[in-house]
Symmetry: C2
Subunit: 385 residues, 2 copies
């Protein structure tokens, strides 16, 4: 079922995209190098470059040197032609960056929010950070990504209130909040989704098309890639594992033997008082000391992951988060999968630790920024007679 109409514009935009992507990933490139990198011919690349230069995405730099023959002129992406915002809203505050077209972070802001966090305070902090970043941006903001530590409806960008949302109970509407602040509609998603993107880009999931990423920290969430594409679900809510059922064999009271993962955490006494956030320090300490309760929790997690492996058949399971990366958890999951029949899934810990959601949001923002020029061609248009 073909979707697009075949037209010459399609070919041209494909060429431009190829060239722009080649220059963006290589950092700087001459026309000839771009030709060999993309597989296009030199004249075609020259034409593309001319278009991209006139639209302002690319700029010519100094001459190359060191080679044997004539020195070519380097092409680089124009970091002032457009910038992107990558922002992470977590339980500890807001972290945001301005990303230039060459992928470098041009500016960054960090703002913490006093506990207890209210939606109003969070929204004000978000707007403040974005306004400040936008004023510091060397070029116009043409794309934005936002990572939120809560279930998010990707279509509306709104935070969804689920029974066991650990962080923001109230409604947050970033799209509406940032309407006049940022000139583009932000792409909002759960932070675990962004973290998995980071892991696929720079971490242990590079090149793996079917991944299950389980994040266990104050909140518990998952993200999935299937067939080389992110698995979002109808509303983008996919990944809620706190409601996954657990069942640990062996002794124990009835309350600790079944129920959702969330109820299990609560029954084991690992919820921070009254709320729905996991007491990470307590879990880690008990896992370190080998306390039975903590081992039970690790076993419950292992069984949840095992069941989801049967459901999704991933090639790789990535474990992350304050207690998800703990050796006891990793070992429990690994043995549970190894003991299960028929599964060929490997288990690894996340490699991108520092602000992983922000890293993923950054690369995605850069992609969206580059795509900006493909969708709305700024170069010479075909005139109509």
């Amino acid at each position: 079922m073909p979707t697009d109409l075949p037209t010459l514009d399609l070919l041209r935009s494909m060429s431009d995209r190829h060239v722009l992507a080649a220059v963006a990933t290589a950092g700087r490139l001459t026309r000839a190098a771009a030709a060999s990198a993309t597989g296009l011919s030199k004249p075609t690349v020259s034409h593309s470059v001319a278009r991209l230069l006139s639209s302002g995405v690319l700029v010519e730099g100094e001459r190359a040197s060191g080679g044997r023959g004539r020195a070519g002129t380097y092409l680089t992406v124009n970091d002032t032609a457009g910038c992107a915002l990558a922002v992470q809203a977590g339980p500890h505050g807001i972290v945001g960056e301005v990303v230039a077209l060459d992928g470098r972070t041009v500016a960054s802001r960090r703002r913490s929010i006093p506990v207890p966090v209210t939606p109003g305070a969070l929204g004000r902090a978000l707007v403040g950070v974005c306004r400040s970043l936008a004023s510091d941006s060397p070029g116009p903001i043409r794309a934005m990504t936002l990572a939120v530590a809560d279930p998010v409806d990707r279509c509306t960008g709104r935070v969804i209130e689920l029974p066991a949302s650990p962080f923001l109970v109230g409604e947050l509407d970033p799209v509406a909040l940032l309407d006049g602040v940022v000139p583009v509609r932000p792409v909002v998603d759960n932070d675990v989704s962004w973290a998995l993107l980071a892991e696929r880009e720079h971490g242990v999931a590079a090149g793996v098309d079917d991944v299950l990423h389980v994040h266990l920290d104050e909140g518990m969430g998952a993200a999935m890639w299937s067939g080389g594409r992110p698995l979002h679900g109808a509303r983008g809510l996919a990944g809620e594992i706190a409601y996954s059922l657990t069942a640990v064999h062996g002794r124990g009271s009835a309350a600790t033997r079944s129920g959702t993962l969330m109820e299990r955490v609560e029954a084991l006494g690992y919820l921070r008082d009254g709320g729905t956030a996991v007491d990470v320090e307590a879990v880690v300490e008990d896992l370190d000391r080998g306390v039975g309760q903590a081992r039970t929790l690790a076993g419950a997690v292992a069984q949840v992951v095992r069941a989801h492996c049967y459901l999704l058949d991933p090639e790789l399971v990535v474990l992350s988060g304050g207690w998800g990366r703990h050796t006891q958890v990793v070992e429990a999951v690994t043995t549970a999968i190894a003991d299960a029949g028929g599964l060929q899934t490997t288990v690894r810990t996340a490699e991108v630790i520092e602000n992983a959601p922000l890293v993923g949001a950054r690369t995605s923002a850069l992609d969206a920024l580059l795509a900006t020029w493909s969708t709305q061609p700024g170069g010479a248009r075909t005139p109509s007679p």
Copy 2:
């Protein structure tokens, strides 16, 4: 990240695919009608049609009539230019069809296998049906799809032995078996995957991009679509729900309170003696009479589906199978999802009942058959100097 190189061949093949798809879906079409249907210009369509005629996919029929002006010549797909095989291997035997390019079933075979089913007997029956179908085919076999009622590795086409596979315990290797019988490599997949395809094509899931299909019969399996694409997993094994954990609140012995869905079925006494197949008649009868055990099972299924809805966020849940379509199960699942917070998933029963996997395999075989001409162009090639 662009993948294909922009070339004029790409445009041409896109045009051909558009035209061929338009004719195939409409049944018969004149050049002018095809032009307006595809959005291409009349000369372009004429060129495409010339190529497709010379390659033999299309044939010219009689003149159109009834219109006001000149009557056009109808174009139809050439049902003898190539055919596809769609075969279903279930616990009751083998059902297979020859599908022509116009989508009609040209020949069909059915062969039952005496119980107990052995891999050898099944393989022989499969080969026999395929050989018989191939000899009856009006054109060369250019594509084949095979639905197997067991976990299947889509890459190798082999049946995977899982701890609780209800049907074929031994190894079955259809690709090797059919090597000399059918001139193409069959696409093998689990029958629930094909059933979901049928449901998306002709049933309740039409146009829905995120679907969770749960099939409860002798075996228990699931299939998923996410973002408009089937979710297969790394090896194509995705959909094993027999290992999903269950937890039913309320009274009951410890054995009936937790464990995998498979263990739960066993503990409730609904497994056919000794094996791993569900006793469908017993479950249905007990559901009809409202027996507590059956209600417990329905509740367990409901909780499993609910948990998977949180994980996958589907727009629609389709229930099928001998006892999956039972009112009690549907009601239990519906209320479980409605009572859960934050979910907006609707629950429906499958509409394609009669040989649903075969129906899905048929449409997929037809798609693969049509794609045959796009991938290996049989028309005029660009000569190399």
